[in-house]
Symmetry: C2
Subunit: 116 residues, 2 copies
DNA sequence: GCCCTCGCGCAACCTTTAGTTGCATGTTGC
DNA sequence: GCAACATGCAACTAAAGGTTGCGCGAGGGC
């Protein structure tokens, strides 16, 4: 139920390299494909493709400065993504708690009838 | 920083079909590849592969009953996964707040110096 | 007991995506 | 003007999600 139209956001942040890139952009501030690739175990071209993906879903946006292209996180969009994450998390959490409650109820019933 | 060894868990729940499958197993209780495929837009074989992935990372476990194979969610492992999710979420959230605070401080400085 | 059905697993194949290498283009600084 | 550097584009490989087709074992009528 929780996942529907926002699969794009999920698949964007689902990739480990892209998650690390977002981490880097948040902790070190705006960066380029080259600067990010120096801190990642992949080539600049791979980073460039990921930047394109993140840009397309709006999680980051670029600004050209001469021969460099500076990318930075779009705060509002990332906040939306985080909201999606915690939504799914809390949905599952709620269901787990419900299941546990039912299991305990059954356990109680079983224990009560054991003396028959 | 947040993502390291647990990339397996992430990639397991990163797939939209697998997320839906977990949803179904939680809401409808244990199910088979066939029963799940009836409620999903993919074939039984695709579902079967996803079940194998989820089984491998321990998010679900199977139980053979005659010719059927019943899968159900491993509550502890899913709880762990949910924890990972919210960990990343709150990390990003914290960084976003920090950035916002800094941005506001800069804005204040700029506004103060505007009268020069 | 026999057969028909159903659920499953295996194998071959297609498509997308993350990754690579190689090359051409545009900027900067001296 | 030229060397150095950041980028973009193209071709290729590898892995993953998906499909179809097949063969097999377990169950349920008759």
């Amino acid at each position: 139920m929780s996942t529907a139209i926002d699969d794009e956001l999920w698949s964007a942040i689902g990739d480990p390299t892209r998650r690390t890139m977002i981490d880097l952009l948040l902790s070190d501030g705006p960066g380029t494909a080259t600067s990010l690739s120096r801190r990642l175990p992949v080539t600049r071209q791979a980073v460039s493709k990921h930047l394109a993906v993140l840009d397309r879903v709006g999680l980051i946006h670029a600004e050209s400065a001469g021969r460099e292209r500076h990318y930075q996180v779009d705060e509002a969009q990332l906040a939306r993504a985080v909201a999606q994450l915690s939504a799914v998390g809390s949905t599952w959490d709620a269901r787990l708690r419900r299941i546990k409650r039912i299991a305990e109820a059954i356990e109680r019933t079983r224990t009560n009838n054991e003396g028959e």
